[in-house]
Structures are given as structure tokens and as C-alpha cells.
């Protein structure tokens, strides 16, 4: 049986680099501020469409933002 994979992401860092608040990022992604906070703290994994939206917003591939920590195993 496959173990549950914990996802890490760089959303907080990328947001800080652009000096955006959670509310501002939420507005750009068309989600709630609670959703941004939950994603940043790893309490919620975004859907694939939202992950693509995040990737497009930061002009980065998804795997550079989200990491399932499977490398090197």
C-alpha cells in the first residue's frame, strides 16, 4: 500500500520575494486567503489546475514550487 506523501512547497518564499501579502496572492489566484495560508503551511495540497495557476503566476514549472520529497530515495 502506498504511503501518504507529504508535500513541501516554496509558496511562502516566492510570495515574500515579490512582497505580496497572502490576501494579494489569493486575489491573483482567485482563491481565499485561508486557502493560500493552508497551502503555505502544508495543510492543504492544491488541485492540479490550481497548481498550474500558481506555476503560471510565478512563471515556474510546478516541480520547482512543489516538492514531494521523493528524490534521492
Amino acid at each position: 500500500m502506498q504511503e501518504e506523501v507529504e508535500m513541501k512547497n516554496r509558496l511562502k518564499v516566492l510570495r515574500a520575494e515579490r512582497n505580496w501579502s497572502q490576501a494579494e496572492l489569493a486575489g491573483r489566484l482567485d482563491v481565499s486567503r485561508q486557502a493560500v495560508n493552508a497551502i503555505e503551511t502544508g495543510k492543504y495540497d492544491p488541485s492540479l489546475p490550481l497548481a498550474f495557476r500558481i506555476g503560471r503566476l510565478f512563471d515556474m514549472p510546478i516541480e520547482e514550487i512543489f516538492d514531494d520529497e521523493q528524490d534521492g530515495e
Binding site: D30, V31, S32, Q34, K43, Y44, S47
Partner: protein, 149 residues
């Protein structure tokens, strides 16, 4: 060295097969919905028809006001839920689905439990409290999850 040329028709074969499967799935779903509606609406109608045919005494009609009030409440709740659903994002929708699931599971467990307790303690319709308790459990679950996120 070998090479394989894939014609356009071959390349589209997978897409057409997937489209046919999707169409079959849609037809099956529509059929399932139609059968479910037929069962829910059709069976009581059939029962009433048989009762009439056998000249059985008519069941008393339900009191209209509570029935109308319940229908109005259901319609209002449906409209409010639909409007909220459209305005929420995917995380809030997932939380809503989990909350409804929690209410359903709580009721699934509580209903038989309260039925037994009611029978043992001699309290009539004690199991009716299961919905109220389940909704309270669901709301508590929602608040805890909302605060934690």
C-alpha cells in the same frame, strides 16, 4: 535501426475511443438518474394505483402547511447552498464536502444507537435526535478545521 510511422488516423484512434467511452459513461449516468427518479416517484404511484384498484381505504392526506413549509425551507437551503458553492474556492468546497460526510457518518452511527437506547429506555422516537446531534457534530468539525487552517 527501426522506425515506426504513426498515421494521423492511428493517432486519433485513442481520442475517438476515449470520446466513445465518455459518451457511454454519460448515457449510463443519465439512465441511472432516470431509473432512480422512476423508482422514487413511480413506486408510490404504483402502490397508490394498486390500492385504488383493490378498493382499499385511502390514506389520510398529510397536513398541507408543514409540508409546504418543509418544501420552502428545502428550496431556500438549496439556493443558499448553490450560491455559496459558486463563491467558494476548492479548499472551502472540500471542507464543505467533508463536513457533509461527517454529518452523514455521524447519523449513520447514531441512528441505530439511539434507536436501541430509545427502545431500552422506553422513549418514543428517540432516534429522531440523531439528525440534530449529527449536524452539531458536523458544525463542530467544520469550526475546528476552519480554525486550524
Amino acid at each position: 535501426m527501426t522506425s515506426k510511422t504513426v498515421s494521423e488516423a492511428q493517432a486519433l484512434w485513442g481520442e475517438s475511443r476515449e470520446a466513445a467511452r465518455a459518451a457511454r459513461r454519460t448515457r449510463r449516468r443519465m439512465l441511472l438518474i432516470a431509473v432512480a427518479i422512476m423508482l422514487v416517484v413511480g413506486l408510490p404511484f404504483l402502490e397508490g394505483f394498486i390500492d385504488g384498484f383493490l378498493h382499499r381505504p385511502r390514506a389520510p392526506l398529510p397536513r398541507p402547511m408543514p409540508q409546504v413549509a418543509a418544501v420552502v425551507m428545502l428550496i431556500v437551503a438549496g439556493i443558499v447552498t448553490w450560491r455559496n458553492w459558486r463563491e467558494t474556492d476548492e479548499m472551502q468546497r472540500r471542507l464543505a464536502i467533508e463536513t457533509w460526510a461527517m454529518i452523514g457518518v455521524a447519523n449513520f452511527v447514531l441512528h441505530p444507537l439511539l434507536t436501541i437506547i430509545g427502545a431500552q429506555t422506553g422513549q418514543a422516537d428517540f432516534e429522531d435526535y440523531s439528525w440534530g446531534v449529527s449536524v452539531m457534530i458536523g458544525l463542530a468539525f467544520y469550526v475546528i478545521r476552519r480554525v486550524r487552517s
